[in-house]
Subunit: 238 residues, 2 copies
DNA sequence: TCTATGAGTATACATCGTACGCACCGGCTT
DNA sequence: AAGCCGGTGCGTACGATGTATACTCATAGA
């Protein structure tokens, strides 16, 4: 069996199939968007496609392969910035990725985290643009890649945390942050009441930006970009 | 039903049970360490504990609850630094977490990513120590927490990526990085051969630190910590 | 018109999480 | 001492899931 991606491009038009890897992935994405990742069932998928449960196996060797296809499909929909100013580019990249993840929250929950990191075509494009954006500063390739990896790691970690928090909230039917904190009281008041976490308790009392998830994401991002700026700054001319 | 953590501490010693939430979690962790997360089956777990499949349900209402217990158990084993120098403390925190994740790679694969972000007691301890470490600089609580979140996000993202890469490798039986790249050729040579990714192709040719995963982790971490240092530096006295 | 190819189908199975009710044991009340 | 009773662990059973295997049948090329 050749590579999944290779097979994809060589769409053999010899027959006129009603199904395709693409259509399967699209259906899977729409199911996951609506009802979460665990709602993706070969049977449900087939029903959605108006087809028998086993039909998909003509185009996909595994359920996991469907997940890979889903990842690549949504990455393909991300508009990847292609800019001059590296910092603007990275900010756009980060915010774009965040929007993508918030739209498809299952991205953070893929059981095979592998899939999220495998080199799918669209992920490569992403790396490509980023590397191009910082090409100006003459860095060795290792450092250049480390910058890409760092930003990517932050994005991944921050969005995962945000999605986790959001899901925890909506799953329990909270809308406002205050409501959430009231709801958490059950678990949390007890924990905080133990007096073991004074700093954290202070945060819950005094913080102002607790519910401003965008502010949190952007602030963290600026921390990261500041650090990278140091690396990119040419040390000479100052 | 009261909170899971509450129930844990109020271990009612009225009876002499052979089982306990703790023992269940330990067994689950050892299974996951050995054979991966998907090897955790209620039946397998019971067999490992020398007990009938349904026995665990006396102590746990869900399989998901077992996952939560596992997370907290291993977080509890992490030695969380408690230092003076914030940068040393954070470095130690990051390297410790990395070691923990590499030891329990399933941490990055928890299907309910929620579990990884829920406020378990040991995770709170972690936040507590970190906040204490940067208490010196007088920051508002929001910024202080954003620093914690940023480092945490980087750690989470970077370790996930590293684990994903490692699993992809071992899963296909590669040991050396060169072997891995040779193995990836199938998928990758074709992709890179398309000429769509010149920057990335240059990296695969010229990079030197491709296989030094520790260097990659630490370098990214330094980028992040540099950015935070800017925030912590008192702007006055220079 | 015959036939081979390949798309979609039908049936079946092992394995999973877990609902439900039972058997049993030790400490309490009387 | 006798009997109840809460709680521990067990047995059975069920519906859902991923997928192996063998099929039907339409169509394109001869």
């Amino acid at each position: 069996m050749t590579s999944l991606w290779e097979r994809l491009e060589q769409a053999d038009n010899s027959a006129r199939p009603s199904l395709s890897a693409r259509r399967i992935a699209e259906a899977a994405v729409s199911i996951a968007d609506a009802d979460g990742l665990e709602a993706i069932t070969m049977r449900r998928l087939a029903a959605e496609l108006g087809v028998a449960p086993m039909a998909a196996y003509r185009y996909v060797s595994d359920k996991n392969e469907i997940l890979e296809l889903m990842v690549d499909l949504v990455y393909g929909q991300a508009d990847i910035p292609q800019g001059e100013d590296w910092r603007q580019t990275m900010r756009a990249l980060a915010l774009g990725m965040r929007a993508l993840v918030l739209k498809h929250t299952w991205l953070t929950q893929l059981p095979a985290a592998r899939a999220a990191f495998e080199l799918t075509p669209n992920r490569l494009t992403l790396a490509e643009r980023t590397l191009a954006a910082i090409r100006g500063a003459d860095l060795d390739v290792d450092t250049a890649m480390s910058i890409f990896r760092t930003v990517t790691a932050y994005i991944h970690g921050a969005t995962s945390a945000e999605v986790g928090l959001r899901q925890l909230s909506t799953e329990r039917g909270w809308v406002s942050g205050d409501e959430a904190r009231a709801g958490l009281s059950g678990q949390m008041t007890w924990l905080l009441g133990t007096g073991r976490y004074p700093e954290f308790a202070r945060y819950t009392r005094e913080a102002v930006r607790k519910d401003d998830l965008l502010w949190q994401f952007e602030t963290g991002l600026e921390h990261v970009l500041d650090g990278i700026a140091l690396r990119l700054a040419t040390p000479g001319p100052g």
